[in-house]
């Protein structure tokens, strides 16, 4: 057990401006919600240690700016991602309709080995708002997720901490599964410093 490798999972959150990407991350990591209205600059990340099936993994969650200017953050940013979270606002139809282009953008930039099996999770946020304001039904969102290879779908409220924990649990699990699959072909790393002192060598 002691020799178990430390695992770092890279999770990227994408979606239109103002859907609540930063708020979801803050609610999950810091258990806080702020009503402050603040556009994200470029990209930012927070980390959280998560227990999954008896092991402790570190999840690095990348929050991104929804601005068009930053939509192409570049290959380096997306590389090595273990899970991609697509967020929309259930009260904003346009934010749902652009999920497809966010997904495409991610697949182009990150170019994962196995794009059909790459783990995505979709979050419909802001369910605390009045039902009369709702523009995207659960049925419609689920139908889209199914058509894209059964992407898990969660409806959340970052404001009232509804379902956020559950969504990120799934994100962490799926990310870990992906990480294990990717690394499975790798052999043990070469050890440079041996535990047993080398007595045969020349001391000079």
């Amino acid at each position: 057990m002691a020799s178990q490798r430390k695992v770092l999972l890279k999770v990227i959150i994408l979606g239109e401006s103002g859907v609540g990407k930063t708020s979801l991350m803050n609610q999950y990591v810091n258990k806080k919600f702020s009503n402050q209205y603040k556009a994200t600059i470029g990209a930012d990340f927070l980390t959280k240690e998560v227990p999954i099936d008896d092991r402790l993994v570190t999840m690095q969650i990348w929050d991104t700016a929804g601005q068009e200017r930053f939509q192409s953050l570049g290959v380096a940013f997306y590389r090595g991602a273990d899970c991609c979270v697509l967020v929309f606002d259930v009260n904003n139809a346009k934010s749902f309709e652009t999920l497809e282009s966010w997904r495409d953008e991610f697949l182009i930039q990150a170019s994962p080995n196995n794009p059909e099996n790459f783990p995505f999770v979709v979050i419909g946020n802001k369910i605390d708002m009045d039902e009369s304001k709702r523009m995207v039904s659960q049925k419609r969102a689920m139908a889209w997720c199914q058509s894209k290879g059964n992407i898990p779908y969660f409806e959340t409220s970052a404001k009232e901490a509804i379902n956020v924990e559950q969504a990120f649990q799934t994100i962490a699990k799926n990310a870990l599964q992906h990480e294990v699959n990717v690394k499975i072909d790798f052999h043990d790393p070469i050890k440079i410093d041996s535990d047993t002192p080398d007595n045969n060598g020349c001391a000079c």
Binding site: E16, S17, G18, Y37, K38, A39, T40, I41, G42, A65, G66, Q67, E68, R69, F70, K94, T98, S101
Partner: protein, 234 residues
């Protein structure tokens, strides 16, 4: 029209600022000031594309009519796209370092003075377009209680749109400062973009005069003073 040099564009149109900028600002002043997240929210991609085509084909539509263009954010996207497509950004690359140094100055007065000088050095088309845009953004911030877009939020959107480090790999490192520079411009629009540009001020700086000689004399003295202080500890 998109992707043309700004100076060429206004000369061809025989206007002080490009038509597309004027039309967008006019429509947004009318329809956008109370929209939450104005400029932050992006428009409908298909509608923005249609708008670009219409302007490129010299058939500018009436952006004020909500029946034709329902999504106000498509208009903000159009304006942002136009500004981003300029081969030379609205703050030209030769003034980039100047603005970056100016925002780093320690006192507010020094910042204001340096910004005024830099604004005067903008090429005519850039100055006029910048003035119109900043005055409009100032009106947006005046409604920030409703639209939630204060100068800081607007600067996040307009920082990378209006100024670009000539070295793109440095862009993300500079972003805090570019945003601060744009925020400063929005907050001090009235001071920086006066009714008529003070060309004289800029002109005088380049002409050595007796007065300047005296100033030089003063500088010389102070530099001697500095040298002395530098020497004294040894």
């Amino acid at each position: 029209m998109f992707g043309n040099d700004l100076q060429d564009q206004v000369e061809r149109e025989k206007r002080t600022i490009p038509l597309v900028v004027e039309k967008c600002i006019e429509a947004l002043d009318m329809r956008g000031l109370e929209v939450e997240g104005i400029y932050r929210q992006s428009g409908t991609a298909s509608e923005s594309r249609k708008l670009v085509e219409a302007f490129n084909n010299d058939h500018p539509p009436d952006l004020r009519d909500p029946e034709i263009y329902q999504d106000v954010c498509s208009i903000t996207s159009l304006l942002k796209l136009f500004l981003r497509s300029l081969p030379e950004p609205l703050i030209p690359s030769n003034l980039y370092d100047g603005f970056m140094d100016a925002i780093d100055l320690p006192s507010h007065e020094a910042q204001l003075q340096e910004f005024s000088k830099l604004v005067c050095r903008l090429p005519e088309a850039h100055f006029q377009t910048m003035k119109a845009l900043m005055q409009h953004l100032d009106r947006v911030t005046q409604n920030s209680r409703v639209n939630r877009m204060n100068a800081k939020n607007l600067s996040v959107i307009f920082g990378p749109t209006l100024m670009r480090n000539p070295d793109p790999s440095k862009e993300i490192v500079d972003v805090t400062y570019t945003n601060l520079a744009i925020e400063f411009l929005i907050l001090h629009t009235d001071d920086l973009f006066v009714a008529e540009r003070n060309h004289d001020a800029e002109y005088k700086q380049d002409i050595p005069s007796e007065e300047n000689d005296e100033v030089d004399g003063g500088t010389e003295n102070s530099s001697t003073g500095e040298a002395q202080t530098a020497d004294s500890p040894t």
